[in-house]
């Protein structure tokens, strides 16, 4: 029995090690290639935007979800960021949910799709903000130098 238990413990230990080692492989390798294409039409933009809203603002109030979408579109119009939605979304380390592949992990809800549509139709609860973050999570220190405009749900939005 002792040997059997030792076997079982070893199997569990090796499995845990294997999973943690596997997590070091960049998530982008696990994503189908067609998902990484830049959007070519309105519905591609809705799909991309609602996925990032899903990844960044799941569980947030509906207005907060629209606000997150609006921030991304404000970035497209700003000289400080890439000039396409795909460029903004896929900017390195810009959004945690893109970096860790969460945006492709499930289908966005009706609320998240609607939030993306409203943002693309010009609704902006943030009055032009370019940044948002959750104060309870670790962020880069420089972001706190931004002028905070509004807090919606768990996110603060800033210029």
């Amino acid at each position: 029995m002792t040997a059997t238990r030792l076997c079982l413990v070893a199997i569990v230990f090796i499995a845990v090690c294997a999973v943690s080692l596997g997590a070091d492989v960049p998530q982008c390798f696990a994503v189908p290639e067609h998902r990484l294409a830049a959007p070519q039409s309105w519905w591609d933009e809705v799909d991309l935007l609602c996925r990032v809203i899903m990844g960044e603002a799941t569980g947030e109030p509906f207005t907060g979800q629209v606000a997150v979408g609006a921030v991304m579109l404000n970035r497209v119009r700003s000289p400080q960021f890439p000039s396409t939605l795909a460029g903004v979304v896929y900017e390195v380390d810009a959004f945690e949910s893109v970096t860790n592949g969460l945006v492709w992990s499930r289908t966005p809800s009706e609320s998240e799709v609607r939030a993306a549509e409203l943002a693309l139709n010009g609704y902006d609860p943030t009055s032009g903000c370019l940044f948002f973050w959750n104060p309870s999570k670790p962020v880069s220190p420089w972001i706190w130098s931004r002028q905070i405009v509004v807090t919606i749900g768990n996110h603060v939005f800033a210029y």
């Binding site: 040997a3 059997t4 030792l6 076997c7 070893a10 199997i11 090796i14 090690c17 294997a18 080692l21 596997g22 070091d24 492989v25 960049p26 390798f29 309105w42 809705v46 109030p61 509906f62 207005t63 629209v66 119009r77 700003s78 000289p79 400080q80 960021f81 890439p82 000039s83 460029g87 896929y90 900017e91 390195v92 380390d93 810009a94 609320s111 799709v113 609607r114 549509e117 409203l118 139709n121 010009g122 609704y123 902006d124 609860p125 943030t126 009055s127 032009g128 903000c129 370019l130 880069s140 420089w142 905070i148 405009v149 509004v150 807090t151 919606i152």
Partner: protein, 471 residues
């Protein structure tokens, strides 16, 4: 050999250990490959960035030497193109550690300024000496930027042999993805970029046009309780909410965000302007299976019903002379439609009086097709533009017929031209004649300046079952 339990367990353990080692080695190789790929992408972006910035410097220098408008336009446009590419390459570097926004803004504004000047030259307008001096200043700044980037490039080459090796320690403890030579270099550039004054011009990326717009007519201040009351009556459904929450928004239009929450978790949020108490925007996440309260408008369950519901809603909120400018149904089965409206006014007097549509003063209403219930509302454009103190609407100097004659002969004009005001930039609008034209199977909206006859804007109209888009 007698196989007892101990030997079997040892054999199994040994097998598992070998498999784990093989798996681990495979994972290490994959991690190393991925790390090399990422580093390769960054280095490619780095050297592309250097190349494009050096090309920007070169093109700006050539503009100074160019004597014909054609050559000036060529090099100014090339500067813009290289600036766009440089800004895109900056997006390949991680924002997690270094703030690259000042650098990208600096590069984008040089390109934007060059493009504005090239358009000016192409129109035959005179570029002032002050504008040429500004361009020279930007050329010097670009030269400085190119110098710092070259130094970073040399550092990149020097450290290249050590980058991309995934260490065993890093594998178990978590490898860091930051590269010191990158962060240090961009920190220096960030400091340099922030110290360079932005060029003074009128373009999409210029400072005045990047600032958010304020209310055209602010009005008297309102307090929190008044804002709560305004939001409650704006919803107008008469339903009971579980709670009401207020938040402060200190953007260009300071607002109270009043959120009414229902028992099922859905919320209706209204942004009430602190000056004047207007509802700037409103969203409602109600679920369409809810019973419709009696206070909500009752209308037919079709498109025309939704359209009429939107019109009735605007009328009930005091909007006058609103013309529908377009609609979109987000998805064939969404059951809701977003309508856009713009006010119309009269310019000129007597025989020369013309109805003029004010596109910057846009109002949007989203309506549920099933019951005509308003799901969202946005009048930010209306509040920041309508009756603005700097707006002066004069009678057009160019007639509709004269404006039509400036259009390309191949175009088939549908109906009559419409007088309108269109936003060229957030801080600039022009009065123009709008023509709906067809060329082949394609539909265009062409805007001819009603004061000088110049072609100001062209949009292609894309029609579908979900409405129309202009690009």
């Amino acid at each position: 050999m007698k196989w007892n339990l101990g030997r079997i367990a040892a054999a199994v353990l040994g097998l598992i250990t070998v498999l784990a080692l093989v798996f681990g080695a495979n994972q290490y190789r994959q991690a190393e490959t991925a790390q090399l790929a990422i580093t390769g992408m960054q280095q490619r972006a780095m050297f592309s960035l250097i190349s494009h910035v050096e090309n920007m410097e070169g093109c700006l220098a050539k503009v100074r030497a160019a004597s014909t408008p054609g050559q000036q336009t060529t090099f100014l446009t090339a500067t813009w193109s290289h600036a766009q590419a440089a800004a895109e390459n900056l997006g390949q570097f991680s924002m997690a550690v270094t703030d690259l926004t000042a650098v990208r803004q600096f590069v984008s504004r040089i390109g934007d300024y060059s493009l504005v000047l090239s358009q000016k030259v192409a129109r035959g307008d005179q570029v002032t000496q002050a504008e040429w001096d500004e361009l020279r200043r930007l050329e010097d700044s670009t030269k400085d930027l190119a110098g710092v980037l070259s130094d970073m490039g040399r550092s990149a080459l020097a450290s290249g042999s050590r980058i991309g090796k995934a260490s065993l320690t890093g594998l178990f403890l978590g490898a860091s993805r930051t590269d010191n030579w990158l962060n240090q270099g961009f920190s220096e550039i960030d400091t340099m970029a922030q110290s360079i004054p932005s060029p003074l011009y009128d373009g999409p990326f210029s400072e005045p046009n990047q600032a958010a717009l304020t209310l055209a007519r602010p009005g008297a201040p309102v307090d929190m309780e008044t804002a709560k009351s305004i939001a409650g009556s704006f919803i107008g459904t008469g339903e009971a909410f579980q709670s009401v929450r207020l938040e402060d928004s200190e953007g260009a239009i300071p607002c109270f965000l009043v959120t009414h929450k229902r028992a099922d978790g859905t919320e209706a949020t209204s942004a009430v302007a602190k000056q004047g108490g207007a509802v700037v925007w409103h969203t409602d996440s109600f679920r369409k299976t809810l019973m419709r309260p009696s206070a909500v408008l009752t209308l037919a369950q079709n498109f025309e019903g939704a359209r009429q519901a939107a019109r009735n809603f605007l009328s009930s909120k005091g909007f006058q002379s609103m013309a529908e400018t377009g609609w979109r149904r987000p998805g064939a089965d969404s059951g809701r439609i977003i309508f856009a409206f713009a006010p119309e006014t009269t310019v000129g007097q007597g025989n020369t009086a013309e109805v003029c549509r004010l596109y910057p003063d846009l109002v949007k209403v989203e309506v549920s097709e099933g019951d005509g219930r308003v799901m969202s509302f946005d009048q930010k454009g209306y509040l920041t533009s309508n009756d603005h103190p700097t707006r002066a609407l004069r009678a057009p100097l160019i007639s509709e017929r004269e404006a039509r004659e400036t259009l390309k002969d191949d175009l088939r004009v549908q109906g009559q031209g419409r007088l309108c005001v269109i936003p060229m930039l957030p801080t600039r609008e022009v009065m123009a004649w709008e023509f709906n034209c067809k060329e082949g199977e394609d539909t265009y909206l062409i805007y001819v300046n009603a004061m000088n006859g110049h072609e100001e804007a062209i949009f292609q109209v894309l029609e579908s079952e979900e409405g129309s888009l202009t690009t």
